[in-house]
């Protein structure tokens, strides 16, 4: 396992920005999650680190070594692709053994057997080892593709939304399993996801990408509690952060044009009058959908509340986040 450093990494595709001037340190043993909408440059970052794509500018350092010009094989990285990319002409077992048989690793046969069996067991695909890769369900394919990375012990694991096509239960199981494996191996992992729970529960660090730029890098709690822009604030949080004009609740710092309030950062019983539109009972808590001066607001409440639609309720923000006209945070 190794530390990976990106220095001013830039990649363009014709006129489109892939990523622009990204610098980031992925510490040894860290689990870094990249967040951002489609086209923000998450996958491009992974491909540049793996060597599948050639950078226009900047450097990638893996384990203290500048890997410029090295092939993906020489860089010693493992990657899980979003579209599985299992070898269709091989069995599940041969797919898992494929990286171990490579000329770089040249693993002895009994070692291959042991590792494949171990990984298959962890990913619950032992009973499918003899199947052709094309005879699997989507979830099974994705597990095999994760397994093909896990049989190795590379400098860094790169994963591109590896859990996206799994059902909820398997996703939870594998999330815990991945985290356990990462912690026990001390593996370095760079992980792309859209899923907030994955980001919050697994990551040691989160990097938020916007249109090829790294806009914030920090621990999940920092990103959640202390975002430095409205964009970052709206990437994490479900339901999303409520954004209102600055003057709705009065007194804000100078220059503020919008305020953001997380659903759990709204005080009930004082402040401005809002109207209940709908109550969603989620079991452990209730979600209130309110309107205040024409603005929709979502907040949470005790599961025992039983407001009728149309009920009036006073609400006030608790430590709101203030943003200027460009969406930058005002502290």
């Amino acid at each position: 396992m190794a530390e990976v450093i990106l220095k001013n990494l830039t990649k363009r595709f014709g006129d489109d920005v892939g990523i622009d001037d990204i610098s980031m340190t992925i510490p040894d043993g860290a689990f870094v999650v990249l967040l951002g909408p489609t086209g923000a440059g998450k996958t491009t970052t992974l491909r540049l680190i793996s060597g599948l794509e050639k950078e226009d500018k900047g450097e990638v350092w893996i384990g203290g070594r500048n890997v410029k010009g090295e092939t993906p094989a020489q860089r010693d990285v493992a990657m899980v692709f979003q579209q599985y990319s299992l070898y269709p002409h091989l069995t599940v077992k041969d797919n898992l053994a494929f990286p171990l048989k490579s000329p770089i690793l040249k693993t002895p046969t009994d070692e291959i057997e042991r590792k494949v069996a171990e990984v298959a067991n962890v990913l619950q695909i032992s009973h499918k080892l003899g199947n052709k890769a094309t005879e699997l369900s989507g979830g099974e394919m994705q597990r095999v593709s994760i397994g093909r990375a896990l049989v190795r012990e590379p400098a860094i694991y790169l994963m591109d939304e590896p859990l996206s096509s799994l059902d909820a239960k398997l996703r939870t199981d594998l999330r815990l399993e991945l985290k356990r494996i990462q912690a026990s191996l001390g593996a370095t992992l760079l992980y792309v996801t859209h899923d907030q729970i994955e980001a919050m529960t697994m990551a040691t660090h989160v990097g938020v990408l916007d249109n090829g730029h790294l806009v914030q890098f920090g621990t999940p709690r920092e990103i959640y509690e202390n975002p430095n822009s409205l964009y970052v604030a709206s990437r994490l949080g479900l339901p999303r952060i409520n954004v209102l004009p600055a003057d709705v609740f009065g007194s804000v710092p100078a220059g503020t044009t919008q305020i953001g309030m997380r659903p759990e950062h709204i005080q009930q019983g004082e402040g401005q009058e809002a109207e209940v539109q709908r109550v969603e009972h989620l079991g452990d808590l209730a979600r209130l959908h309110l309107t205040l001066k024409g603005h929709a607001i979502t907040t949470i409440a005790d599961p025992s509340v039983d407001y009728e639609p149309g009920t009036h309720l006073k609400i006030a923000p608790r430590n709101p986040l203030c943003f200027d006209a460009d969406g930058n945070r005002i502290r």
Partner: protein
């Protein structure tokens, strides 16, 4: 549940389609069957009118195909009784076997040249198609068009320059010369067909192999080749059929050492009258290798011919 289905054809239309296909197959197989039957007829049965469908089979045609024969005096024939079954057949015409004919050699030439040029076309074609499919090549479209344009005129149109060139280079009537010539004709087809197949194989497989610790060439033969097998098989059949059946260049450029079967078979007619059974026997044997090759690769061929119809 109703048995009616929008996609499943009705029983009646299945019957109709089946009958049509069988009829068509029978009609197209008549000439083939005729050749095969004629190979087992006696010369008089072969030219009888009305044609004989039921006849007494004989191996005369095959014996004549593989041997050269001379007429002998009655005393010689009486003094040397026939020792083998094929000599007996020849004796009926007061002849003896003088030696083997050239058919065996010519057939072997066809095998060497046909399969040799097919292998070379596929080998070079696969590498070129992979490069065109995966790498950024300057002027790739123009190069591809140029490769295709070599097929825009009939190859025989350049027969005279090739004939002169081959004479200068000493390639006339050599196996190498014919293999190179057929490869040159086939390679444009091979590149274009194979590029289509390789384009269909997602790049992600090779990328995964690169990351799994393989070089690009290893990724090519471990991951791309197995998946291109279908395309390679069907392209190989097309190349083999061309090289196997080619007549005009074979007549022009070969006369002895490297002569293939197609120009040889008609020469049988000239030897001792119109020996149709021998010609038919030659044609039958000549058909076999391509038939066997096609049958061996048939499960790939069906998918190969219809490729591109369904995109995955």
């Amino acid at each position: 549940m109703s048995s009616f289905s929008v996609t499943e054809p009705s029983n009646r239309s299945k019957w109709f389609a089946g009958t049509l296909v069988i009829l068509y197959a029978l009609i197209t197989m008549i000439p083939l069957a005729w050749i095969m039957l004629t190979g087992f007829k006696s010369p008089s049965d072969a030219i009888s009118y009305p044609p004989k469908v039921v006849f007494e089979p004989t191996l005369e045609g095959y014996v004549n195909l593989f041997t050269t024969r001379t007429r002998q005096t009655q005393e010689y024939l009486d003094a040397n009784p026939p020792e083998t079954w094929y000599e007996e057949i020849v004796r009926e015409y007061d002849m003896v076997i003088a030696g083997p004919s050239k058919f065996g050699e010519r057939f072997l030439n066809s095998v060497i040249i046909g399969f040799g040029s097919t292998f070379l076309s596929i080998f070079l074609g696969t590498l070129a198609a992979y490069a065109f499919s995966r790498f950024k090549i300057p002027l790739a479209d123009d190069l591809l068009f140029f490769i295709l344009s070599t097929r825009m005129m009939p190859p025989i149109a350049v027969a005279i320059p090739i004939f002169l060139m081959y004479r200068q280079l000493g390639l006339s009537d050599t196996h190498l010369g014919m293999i190179l010539l057929y490869t040159a004709v086939n390679i444009s087809l091979a590149v274009w067909l194979l590029k289509g197949f390789i384009d269909e194989i997602p790049r992600e497989y090779e990328e995964a192999a690169l990351i799994d610790g393989y070089t690009r060439f290893q990724a090519f033969y471990k991951v791309v080749l197995p998946q291109a097998a279908t395309g390679i098989a069907s392209t190989a059949i097309f190349c083999l059929i061309f090289a196997w059946n080619e007549y005009a260049f074979a007549v022009l450029l070969t006369s002895g050492t490297a002569q293939t079967a197609p120009p040889f078979i008609p020469t049988i007619i000239g030897v001792g009258g119109l020996d149709w059974p021998a010609v038919a026997a030659g044609a039958t044997i000549f058909l076999l290798p391509v038939m066997i090759f096609t049958i061996l690769l048939r499960k790939h061929l069906l998918r190969g011919i219809t490729f591109g119809a369904v995109r995955k």
